[in-house]
């Protein structure tokens, strides 16, 4: 048993915390710094994420290029497919698995015990997601350039192309975060990948909008990916089509509001449950 020297009332009231509530930017930068460092410490995360879009790009172009171009539906099928490869590369890329690991290990609780602002716990992860999707987009874009695809919108258009892809990737990332926060279960987070399929395939993945018929044509109208692909393709083929770019950007932002709204609700629920 210890013989504690109990402080007097004066000692207790004189305590000045070394800790303090930092600025919002400081909170964001602290969480983002850790999350980005985590991205670079998991190179194994990038390899499948990179192989998938390249595989689909090569297979789809190899299988459908002649028929698509021969029928006159598409002029340059490789250019038509490059945005699809970008969508495949960035959709579902997030730090949600790392978030689940934090929840399971108790580190998420440790974060909640600090004075950091709660929204920054998600926003900081989003910063790492932007880095991830740009890192994944660059090799796919480089592959397209090597295969002879040129951008009507020039170098600035390529940069916008990257940011466009990143915005879509970020918009979709809210779903795995919502599932991670709701369930704390890695299997559930991995299962969120099934959301990818309706978004990625019920749209203008293989054919332009004008060539779609029946129910697929109808569904594609309500699929935000249709507009994101439209914006991306316009940067390659048309130059600067403000109307298409705005539509695609708005589609991404709309989905982002929904997905991160769900993620915020899930976070609030998790905090409430303790």
């Amino acid at each position: 048993m210890t013989t504690a020297t109990a402080p007097t009332s004066d000692d207790a009231t004189a305590y000045v915390p070394l800790a303090r509530r930092a600025s919002m930017w400081h909170d964001f930068a602290t969480i983002a710094h850790r999350a980005i460092r985590g991205v670079f410490r998991e190179p194994e995360f990038f390899i499948p994420a990179l192989i998938t879009p390249v595989f689909f790009f090569v297979v789809i172009v190899g299988a459908l290029q002649d028929s698509a171009q021969g029928s006159g539906t598409v002029t340059d099928f490789k250019a038509f497919q490059l945005p699809v490869a970008i969508i495949f590369a960035v959709t579902g890329v997030s730090r949600a698995t790392a978030l689940v690991t934090d929840i399971q290990s108790g580190y998420f609780d440790r974060l909640l015990l600090t004075p950091i602002r709660r929204p920054m716990l998600l926003l900081g992860l989003m910063a790492a997601d932007v880095v991830s999707v740009i890192l994944l987009t660059i090799p796919v874009l480089a592959l397209g350039l090597v295969l002879g695809i040129s951008f009507e919108s020039g170098i600035v258009g390529m940069l916008v192309f990257l940011l466009y892809g990143a915005t879509w990737g970020l918009a979709f990332a809210g779903f795995p975060y919502a599932i991670a926060l709701k369930t704390g279960n890695p299997a559930a987070v991995n299962a969120s990948f099934v959301l990818f399929f309706p978004f990625a395939f019920l749209t203008t993945t293989f054919l332009p909008k004008e060539a779609l018929t029946g129910w697929l044509s109808t569904v594609s109208i309500y699929n935000p990916v249709t507009y994101v692909l439209g914006g991306l393709r316009s940067l390659i083929s048309d130059g600067w089509r403000t109307d298409l770019l705005v539509q695609g950007f708005a589609a991404s932002l709309g989905l982002m509001v929904i997905s991160f709204g769900l993620a915020s609700l899930a976070m609030r629920g998790r905090i409430n449950r303790g």
Binding site: M1, T2, T3, A4, T5, A6, P7, S9, D11, A12, T13, Y15, P17, L18, A19, R20, R21, A22, H26, T30, H33, R34, R37, G38, R41, E42, D102, S105, G106, Y107, D109, R110, L111, L112, L113, T114, P115, I116, R118, G184, R268, G269, I271, N272, R273, G274
Partner: protein
Amino acid sequence: MLSAIQARELWRTFGTNEAVAGIDLDVPYGEIYGFLGPNGAGKSTTVRMLCTLLGPTAGTATVAGFDVATQPGDIRLRIGVALQDYSIDGKQTGREMLDLQGRLYGLSTRDIARRLDDVVGLVDIGSAIDDRVDSYSGGMKRRLDLAMSLIHRPQILFLDEPTTGLDPASRSAVWAEVRRLNDDYGTTIFLTTQYLEEADELADRVGIISDGLIKAEGAPNELKRDIGADLIVAEVDGDLELAADALRAIDGIDDVETHNNEITLATTDGAGLIAEVAVALSGCGVPVKSLTLRTPTLDDVFLQVTGTHLAGGGDHSGRPDTDEAHQSDHASAEATS
């Protein structure tokens, strides 16, 4: 006296499960308070409420003078917490974890550097401080976890079973650090444990919790003294009540308790009565497997107030483990964000 931690009729339910069923606490500044109980008794739920991770279902609590429900931000600046599991990111190095922890608490770069020097000594893992935490042993992780909870020099430290799973050497190191923090800095420490010797060794006062209620509270020596100066424990193999009745007739026996196949006698003169006890047991024809004279332990206190042993006994209430209760039940508590 000012209370570092105060609770009044604090409740927390998960559905129909009353994990904490109306506890009162008064922990003065500078005290090491041991919260002793088996798994599922409500220790971790209480800590999570006091640390602002979990809203109370009913009742009130203040930590460092601030209300857990309405002033959680003020509390978080003043408390350090080492939860039951190692709350560590294995992909980072020990130094990065400590640095990050300092930043999360808004410390300046200079303060972080100074505090790193202070707490790295506690971690005591040499150059491994720059290795990734994944490569650490359980003891190293626990010490790092404790160091992280101290980086912002908290006024009140919550330690939730800080030595569970540690080897004896690591356990001793943690005990020494807890004592040093209390002696040198007057840090108030709220320590949950299911280890009797830990509570006995460290705590100025102990609260015994079972089924979500505090069953007894006081300095370990006082609690033990309440049982009696000496205990004679007879392990019998036969009619327990017959033997107990025979022993109750002996002058100088203050109390007789039976549990499983044990009879525990409280007396002020164990040495003088043990022979008479042996004769009485022999006289009633109940075979005796062992007869022991010893001073009371906290386990005896626990047995007296809960009717069950704590040592090696775990939870006998049938209550689910607290953490499992968190996972399985989505109670609608108030947020303490």
